[in-house]
C-alpha cells in the first residue's frame, strides 16, 4: 500500500501535502493551544468551507477556471480572520464571542452556496471529511508556499510569539507590538487552516492543530520540546492516517484524527503507568 503512494504521482502529491500539513498545523497549533484559542481554527475552517462552496458554485455557474475552490477557500479564511480580529476589538470584554459569530456565518454561507451549487456532491464531501483523493501539482505548490511562509513567520517571530503567549503584558512592556503580531498570527492561522482542509477536512482541522499538541504537552518539559514532539505526533498521525484511509477507502480526516487520538490515549496511559511505578518504587525505598 505504501508503494501506491510512491508510484502514483497524484497520490504522492497527497502524501507530500499531508507531510507539509502535518508539520505546519501542529507547529502553529502549539501557539494556539497555549494562548487558549483552540476554537479559532474551528471558526476559520467553517468560513473556509463557505469559500470552498462559493468556489464550487462559481465553477458551476460561470465555469471560472482561473480560481479553484481552494483559492476562494483561502480568500474566505483570510477575510474571516480579519473579521475575527475586528470583532475582538469591538467586543473587548467578550473576545471569545467573535468565534461563534464567524462560525455560524460561515456555516450559513456554506449552506447557501452548497444549495446554489446543487447540493452535497463528492467535492463537498471531501472538503468536509478530508480525502486521500488526488491533489494537483498546483494545489501542492500552493500548500508548499503556505508552509514556507508559516515556517518563516514562526522562525522570525518565535521569541516575540512565545513572549506574547506566555505573558502579553510583559511582552508589550518589552516592546513587542502585540496588535500587529496578533494580526499576522491570525492571518497565518487562516492560511494553515485552509491548507489543512485539503487533507483532514473542515470538521477536523482544529483536531490536527490541537490533538498532537495535547499529547506533546504531557511528555515535554520545555516549550521547544513541546513544538518538536507536536510535529512528530502530527506527522505520525498524518502518515498512518493517509495510508489507512487509502487502504480502507475512508476519508483521511477520520483516520488521521483517530490515529492522533490513539496516540494521545496511549501517551496518557503510559504516563499513568509511569506514575504508578514511580510511586511504587518510592514506597519500596521508604519501606
Amino acid at each position: 500500500m505504501i508503494e501506491a503512494f510512491i508510484n502514483y504521482t497524484l497520490l504522492r502529491n497527497t502524501l507530500y501535502a499531508g507531510l507539509l500539513v502535518g508539520l505546519i498545523a501542529p507547529l502553529l497549533g502549539v501557539f494556539i493551544v497555549v494562548r487558549r484559542q483552540s476554537m479559532i481554527a474551528d471558526g476559520l475552517s467553517h468560513v473556509t468551507l463557505a469559500g470552498l462552496a462559493f468556489g464550487l458554485f462559481m465553477q458551476k455557474k460561470y465555469t471560472l477556471l482561473m480560481f479553484t475552490p481552494f483559492h476562494t477557500g483561502i480568500l474566505f479564511s483570510v477575510i474571516g480572520a480579519l473579521i475575527i480580529e475586528n470583532l475582538r476589538d469591538v467586543y473587548k470584554a467578550f473576545q471569545e464571542i467573535a468565534i461563534p459569530i464567524i462560525l455560524s456565518v460561515g456555516v450559513g454561507l456554506s449552506i447557501v452556496f452548497i444549495a446554489l451549487a446543487d447540493g452535497i456532491n463528492t467535492d463537498i464531501y471531501s472538503y468536509l471529511f478530508g480525502s486521500v483523493a488526488a491533489i494537483s501539482n498546483q494545489d501542492l505548490t500552493l500548500i508548499l508556499w503556505i508552509s514556507i511562509l508559516v515556517i518563516a513567520f514562526i522562525l522570525t517571530f518565535y521569541k516575540r510569539l512565545f513572549a506574547l503567549s506566555f505573558d502579553d503584558e510583559f511582552a508589550r512592556v518589552s516592546g513587542v507590538k502585540a496588535k500587529t503580531l496578533n494580526f499576522f498570527f491570525i492571518l497565518v492561522t487562516a492560511l494553515v487552516v485552509s491548507a489543512s482542509i485539503r487533507i483532514v477536512g473542515v470538521l477536523l482541522v482544529s483536531a490536527l492543530m490541537t490533538l498532537p499538541v495535547a499529547t506533546s504537552m504531557r511528555v515535554s518539559n520545555s516549550f521547544k520540546q513541546t513544538i518538536v514532539y507536536s510535529i512528530i505526533y502530527g506527522e505520525v498521525a498524518v502518515v498512518i492516517g493517509l495510508i489507512a484511509g487509502y487502504y480502507f477507502e475512508i476519508p483521511a480526516g477520520g483516520t488521521i484524527v483517530i490515529t492522533s487520538a490513539l496516540l494521545l490515549g496511549l501517551t496518557l496511559l503510559l504516563k499513568k503507568v509511569q506514575l504508578v511505578l514511580t510511586i511504587k518504587k518510592d514506597d519500596e525505598h521508604a519501606a
Partner: protein
C-alpha cells in the same frame, strides 16, 4: 539634585465616565525605592500602566529618562513584574530558562544569553531551577523567576504591581529583602505597588499614597509617625496601627 528618571505632571485619566486619576504630579529619582500604595480601585494599576507606556496617556505629561513617554523607546530600561504573573497559566509548557530568556531585549549569541539568564537567576537564588518546568515551582519561587526575567536585561527602573499576591507570608519577607538587595546592590530604582501599607514602609525610601490623586509623597518614617486619623485620610482608607514583629 539628581535628575528624576520619571517625571509626571498633571496626569488625568478616565474610563468611560469614571475619573480614575486626577492631577497626578510626582518625580522618581534614580536609586529610589518607591512604595506606591492605595486602597483597591485607587488607580494604582492604571498609573503604572501609563508609566510603562501600555496605557495611552489621555491628559498631562510623563517623561521617562528625559523623553516624553509617547516617544520613549524602552530598550530594557524600564522593566515590569505584573500582578498577572501570579495567575499565569500554570500548565504552560516552558522551562525557567525559557521564561527568563523572554526578558532579554538585545540580540545576543546563545552563550551570552545563557550567561545572562544564569546570572539573573543567581541574583534571585534560583539558578538550580534553571531547567525545571515553571509550573512545577511554588508561587514564591515563580515570582522570583519573574524577577529574574525582569532584571535579565539590567533595567534602570523596575516596576512591580502587587508582586506578593499569592506568596505566603514567610516568603513575602524574603521577597522584600530581595527587592531591597536589588535596589542597594544593583542600584535598580524600584516602584513597588501594594495595598499593604504596613509591610512595605520598612523597606521603601519614598512613599506615594494614591487614591485618584496623590495624597502623600515623602518619607515613610514621617508617615508612620502620624496619628492613625491623619494617615487614614492620606491613604484614603481606614488604617490601624499594626505592629510587625520581624
Amino acid at each position: 539634585m539628581t535628575q528624576p528618571i520619571i517625571s509626571v505632571r498633571g496626569v488625568q485619566h478616565r474610563y468611560d465616565r469614571q475619573t480614575i486619576l486626577k492631577d497626578i504630579k510626582f518625580d522618581i529619582v534614580e536609586g529610589a525605592f518607591v512604595g506606591l500604595v492605595g486602597p483597591n480601585g485607587s488607580g494604582k494599576t492604571t498609573l503604572i500602566k501609563l508609566l510603562l507606556g501600555i496605557e495611552k496617556l489621555q491628559k498631562g505629561q510623563i517623561t521617562a529618562f528625559g523623553h516624553p513617554i509617547q516617544k520613549f523607546k524602552n530598550k530594557g530600561r524600564i522593566s515590569y513584574v505584573s500582578q498577572k504573573a501570579n495567575s499565569f497559566n500554570r500548565g504552560f509548557p516552558a522551562t525557567v530558562k525559557e521564561v527568563v530568556s523572554i526578558g532579554i531585549v538585545s540580540k545576543e549569541n546563545k552563550q551570552t544569553k545563557e550567561n545572562l539568564v544564569y546570572n539573573a537567576l543567581k541574583q534571585v537564588n534560583m539558578e538550580s531551577y534553571i531547567d525545571r518546568n515553571i509550573g512545577d515551582l511554588s508561587g514564591g519561587q515563580q515570582q522570583r523567576v519573574f524577577i529574574a526575567r525582569a532584571i535579565v536585561s539590567n533595567p534602570k527602573l523596575l516596576i512591580l504591581d502587587e508582586p506578593t499576591v499569592g506568596v505566603d507570608s514567610e516568603n513575602v519577607e524574603h521577597f522584600y529583602r530581595l527587592l531591597s538587595k536589588l535596589n542597594k546592590e544593583l542600584g535598580i530604582t524600584l516602584v513597588l505597588v501594594s495595598h499593604d501599607i504596613g509591610a512595605i514602609t520598612t523597606y521603601v525610601t519614598d512613599l506615594l499614597c494614591l487614591n485618584k490623586t496623590i495624597h502623600y509623597h515623602g518619607d515613610p518614617g514621617d508617615f508612620e509617625n502620624m496619628p492613625d486619623e491623619q494617615r487614614s485620610k492620606l491613604y484614603g482608607h481606614r488604617i490601624h496601627t499594626i505592629t510587625h514583629d520581624h
